[in-house]
């Protein structure tokens, strides 16, 4: 469990990081918190020729929470996002989901942007980016661009960010008025990657009836999946909505795989149960926020 040989650079500017990435070509990889990359290296499942450690690049460790949303810099650790009251005020789902990411020791090093760049379909933050309709900012030697979540995730551990590039931040839009969120997952042990997880967002209309109900799942598909369950509950007052029906609807929309820890059927069961639970609590929150 020792990595194959690689060279290492720890540039102190973004430009230099991009320059090293360009010079080293395909074999170069960005190193952020190392919580996903280093195990892959040690097990020799990945053998990059160069690691470009971005931890010394200034300005990437900021959380900017404003009216339109929360921008999370590439070096913001999961733990910092979890603790940020400003971020939670703008988009409560951030902390709710982050609390389910691994254990404190891993949250202290692992980065939120890194987990999005890593594109693990079991990663909570990929689902949050998708559900909130967020985007990432990608810096390349040719300039900076914004990539919408829908164009980002191509498959497990695969994004549309190619070539010499650093994802410098992720942007999560603010929670809309009269809306509520919830996040829940079932993991085999506390802090493990989820067997199935659901993040939801419910928005009410002016009459406090359900206007929309959307959900994103983790560990269910190859990429974070967002499903619109509005039809199952639309127009219902919060306490009269049939959340279980929304769960059943969701079960028909997903197509999970089985693995060592959960059969496909069991995942589908969890999709139903978690959907009903999270929608009910998100709706209750939406109602409070409509008061």
């Amino acid at each position: 469990m020792k990595p194959a040989p690689f060279s290492y650079a720890d540039p102190d500017s973004l430009d230099e990081a991009l320059a090293v990435l360009s010079a080293e070509g395909e074999g170069a990889k960005v190193l952020a918190g190392g919580q996903s990359l280093l195990p892959l290296l040690n097990m020799r499942l990945a053998a990059p020729t160069t690691l470009v450690d971005i931890n010394r690049v200034p300005g990437l460790d900021q959380i900017e929470a404003g009216g339109s949303g929360v921008r999370v810099g590439a070096l913001v650790r999961h733990a910092a996002l979890l603790r940020s009251a400003e971020a939670s005020a703008v988009q409560p789902l951030l902390a709710r989901a982050t609390a389910n990411v691994a254990h404190p020791a891993i949250r202290n090093r692992g980065t939120t942007v890194g987990s999005i760049a890593h594109a693990d379909p079991s990663g909570e933050m990929t689902a949050v980016l998708a559900l909130t309709g967020g985007s990432v900012t990608v810096a390349t030697p040719d300039g900076t661009s914004s990539v919408d979540w829908a164009d980002l995730f191509l498959g497990p551990l695969e994004t549309s960010v190619h070539g010499p590039a650093v994802v410098t931040s992720a942007f999560f839009p603010a929670l809309a008025p009269r809306s509520g969120t919830a996040f829940a997952e079932v993991a085999r042990r506390k802090g493990d990657y989820a067997v199935c997880g659901a993040g939801v967002m419910v928005t009410l209309d002016e009459d406090r009836r359900v206007a929309s109900a959307r959900v994103a799942y983790i560990s269910v598909g190859l990429v974070p999946e967002v499903h619109d369950l509005t039809d199952a509950v639309v127009g219902r007052p919060v306490d009269a909505a049939d959340w279980a029906a929304a769960g059943v609807m969701a079960q028909g929309l997903v197509d999970p795989d089985g693995d060592l820890h959960a059969s496909a059927d069991y995942r589908r069961l969890l999709v139903g149960a978690l959907t009903a639970r999270t929608l009910a609590s998100a709706a209750a929150e939406a109602q409070e926020r409509s008061a």
Binding site: M1, K2, G191, S263, Y266
Partner: protein
């Protein structure tokens, strides 16, 4: 006496060192050593066609590559069958490096030595082995079917047919008023110590001497094995177990191939060599345990009293039988637990599969046996409409039946005789501890929260402290320090503390003055090892006996100096004094100095022992005939037989019927290990054992696929419970001393794990009303079970305690 420490919750003296990172583990030794890495078989069953090492030879920093071809003499022979047994008719062991056929994924084929582990792994990755794949056998069912053979000369895959019997079981079953028969499965898990194995060897060419550090539970026997395999004289080999980060059984297996190959390389290269096992290696090349298929037939009367029990077990021993059939014997002999089973037969067929070998893991065959017995009790309770506690009470061995002779042979080759116990007392205490009659109220309360609550219980008896012997050396230095050493090793259990307590108690010195060394063959050469909950029983008694020897000698010498009768002396706080005569005393350290008459005063203390220092008695030689200089003593304790500890566990679970998640909300243990030396340490052992019991019941399994590939060979997918999954254990003690040893103690090391799967299965069954006949069980499996047409079981009110 103020220094009486037996029975006190003395704090573990090893903790400060270990917790702040000052432990000295294998990998802390030999920073300048060359590193070994291994090429291991990627196939479960395959023949080596060719090994091409040329790629590795290009790697800078490579020092040596060894294959089977490089082994000579005893090293080229198969590894030893450590515990031969007449019923182990088809023992097979592997070689230190695969000779021609690998029998499981992970078997070492090539050893690479390089300047460091990074380079060694780089080189290993460039070695190309060409394999011819052979048919694979995985699991007891496939082994029994024997469509393919793991070893061609064992076509039925049966290594041993172990058999224990008491009475004519077939006749007794036929004569029973009621009978039940059923089949159960138990899965594999493994010891999984935090520190894997590791070996460091240093060869002193001038002295032709080898010093080996190994993360082992048996340093004396590793030493003997190295000497034999490398053809060295025993006195030229030292083996030291440094701080060991857990063993749980896997490190009692020896010699592991690496324990022989690393010293061999150190000698050949004339340089220190080290190998530290990584986690993947541990999963695929260390030992596992526990898979069995159990076919049970039981007969009982109208009152639920068992009249006959017949068990046929198919036991998966993996690819080899290096450790003999200890696990099958434990299952067969410990299965009946605390119950008076008049007629009993156990047949355990130990079968080969193309998987990692099976050797004892904490519990060692007993969790499986307990699973048979306790699930049988639950079935009888259900069938008879009896409370589960009541059916057990009716079957227990009663207090006046001890010693209880089973007429069978235990794993130490001695008669299976329970020495003492109070089993009804355990049930009474458990009933109170878990508030068994209050369970219906708790069930109702849980239902209001949408949860299914269930409770289960299980009992066990554990043969502990088997021989043949352990020894200890105790020496008082002129400084007043007391050195205690045992050949028996420690892996974090608290032996340093317990042995210090025993020595300090026996000698009458402050515990701070006692230093304990374990598992260092330079200090103590004769020992067996740490396993089978035997350290406190066997070494503990040896330490007490050796300390007693020192005490007697000290009193003899002091009596002369104080002109008193030895019988009038006592030792307290390190001072030898005449009882009831203040002032008439001499420090033990001075006695130590004077015990060694000297010619040369090399330091101030020594002066007192030189020839012109005092009047002396010139009618006698300075050392009496038959006596020896120094205040030291070595003694051994060799038990007549094993001593039998016992206990009762209860588990309460809550299950979420929407997700089938299983939460152990309460776990209660009543434990009897005879006289308790240190209750805090015993509770720690119980708590740790329960953690492994919960792991085995709900989380851990070795997920082999049909090709013999272990699908979950990492801590990502092999799920050991975290602290968050392990309940705090409610513990109550009962102390029934053992009549077999001077201290009256029984072992406590493994007990916590033994009834875990049985108790938790019982609780889940109670919660969901479906038969649980295979463990472990995960939520996804429970969901499958609930949707299947599996057997429904009646739920009995736990409060009644009388036949329905």
């Amino acid at each position: 006496m103020t220094t009486k420490l037996f029975g006190e919750p003395v704090r573990r003296r090893e903790d400060a060192r270990l917790i702040v990172g000052q432990g000295r583990y294998l990998d802390d030794i030999g920073s300048g050593a060359y590193a070994a890495a291994f090429v291991r078989s990627p196939y479960a069953h395959a023949r080596v066609v060719d090994i091409d090492v040329s790629g590795a030879l290009e790697v800078e920093g490579l020092l040596a590559v060894y294959t089977y071809e490089d082994l000579t003499g005893p090293m080229a022979e198969p590894l030893p069958v450590l515990i031969p047994h007449p019923q182990l008719t088809h023992a097979r062991t592997g070689y230190t490096l695969v000779r021609d056929v690998a029998h499981h994924v992970g078997e070492a084929v090539v050893m690479v030595v390089a300047v460091d582990r990074y380079v060694a792994e780089d080189a290993a990755a460039l070695i190309e082995v060409t394999w011819e794949e052979l048919p694979v056998v995985v699991g007891v069912d496939a082994a029994e079917a024997a469509v393919h053979a793991v070893h061609p000369d064992v076509p039925d895959n049966v290594a041993a047919r172990h058999h224990q019997e008491r009475g004519d079981v077939e006749a007794a079953l036929a004569a029973s008023a009621h009978t039940l028969s059923f089949t159960q499965y138990f899965e594999r898990s493994a010891s999984m110590p935090m520190e894997g194995k590791g070996v460091h060897a240093r060869w002193d060419a001038d002295d032709s001497a080898l010093r080996v550090h190994s993360s082992t539970q048996a340093s004396t026997s590793v030493r003997a094995a190295i000497a034999a395999k490398l053809e060295l004289s025993l006195e030229k080999v030292e083996v030291i177990a440094p701080d060991v980060g857990g063993g749980f059984g896997v490190k009692i297996m020896h010699p592991w191939p690496e324990e022989l190959l690393v010293p061999m390389a150190a000698i050949k290269l004339g340089h220190e060599v080290k190998w530290v096992e990584d986690r993947r290696e541990h999963f695929i090349s260390s030992a596992h345990e526990r898979q069995q298929r159990q076919e049970v037939a039981v007969g009982y009367d109208d009152d639920g009293r068992i009249t006959a029990l017949d068990v046929l077990v198919w036991h998966d021993n993996g690819a080899y039988t290096n450790y003999g059939i200890i696990v099958p014997i434990n299952t067969a002999t410990q299965l009946c637990g605390p119950y008076d089973i008049p007629v009993y037969r156990a047949r355990v067929n130990s079968v080969y599969t193309n998987t990692v070998l099976v050797t004892p893991y904490r519990g060692a065959g007993r969790p499986q046996g307990t699973f048979v017995m306790e699930r049988t009790m639950d079935r009888i309770a259900q069938e008879r409409g009896l409370d589960r506690l009541e059916v057990r009470r009716r079957n227990l061995i009663q207090n006046d039946q001890f010693p209880y002779d089973w007429g069978m042979t235990f794993q130490d080759g001695r008669p299976l005789v329970y020495d003492s116990g109070n089993y009804p007392g355990l049930v009474d205490k458990l009933e109170a501890l878990v508030d068994w009659p209050g369970l219906e109220d708790r069930r109702a309360e849980a239902a209001t929260r949408g949860k299914l609550l269930g409770a289960g219980m299980a009992m066990y008896v554990e043969g502990t402290g088997p021989g043949p012997y352990e020894g200890a050396h105790v020496e008082v230095l002129g400084s007043g320090k007391v050195l205690v050493s045992t050949g028996l090793t420690s892996q974090g259990q608290g032996h340093e503390t317990v042995f210090a307590q025993l020595a300090a108690s026996e000698l009458g010195v402050p515990i701070e003055d006692v230093e304990v060394t374990t598992g260092d063959t330079r200090r103590f050469g004769y020992a067996v090892g740490t396993f089978a909950s035997r350290a406190a029983v066997v070494s503990g008694n040896a330490v007490a006996l050796a300390a007693k020897g020192v005490r007697e000698k000290a009193l003899r010498i002091a009596a002369e100096l104080l002109e008193a009768d030895p019988g009038d002396l006592e030792i307290d706080e390190g001072l030898v004094q005449v009882k009831g005569t203040p002032g008439a005393s001499i420090p033990l350290r001075t006695v130590a100095v004077l015990s060694n008459p000297l010619r040369y005063a090399f330091d101030e203390a020594a002066r007192q022992a030189t020839q012109f220092a005092g009047p002396g008695d010139d009618s006698k030689p300075p050392i009496a005939v038959g006596d020896s200089p120094g205040l030291e003593y070595t003694d051994y304790y060799s038990p007549l037989r094993s001593t039998f500890a016992a206990g009762a566990h209860a588990a309460v679970v809550e299950i979420d019927p929407a997700t089938w998640e299983i939460d152990v909300v309460q776990y209660a243990v009543v434990h009897d290990c005879g006289n308790v030396v240190n209750p805090m340490i015993v509770e720690g052992q119980v708590q740790g054992g329960v953690a492994q019991g919960v792991g085995g019941a709900l989380y851990e399994r070795m997920a082999y696929d049909r090709d013999g590939q272990l699908q979950n060979a990492s801590f990502m997918d092999f799920l050991m419970p975290y602290a968050s999954e392990v309940p705090d254990v409610d513990i109550d003690h009962q102390e029934t001393p053992s009549p077999l040893n001077p201290l009256g103690i029984k072992g406590a090391g493994e007990a916590g794990v033994i009834p875990g799967s049985a108790a938790i299965a019982s609780a889940i069954e109670d919660a969901v009303g479906r038969r649980i006949a295979a463990m472990p069980i995960s939520p996804t499996e429970l969901y499958d079970l609930m949707r299947s047409d599996g057997e429904q079981v009646p739920r009995l009110p736990s409060a009644t305690g009388v036949p329905a």
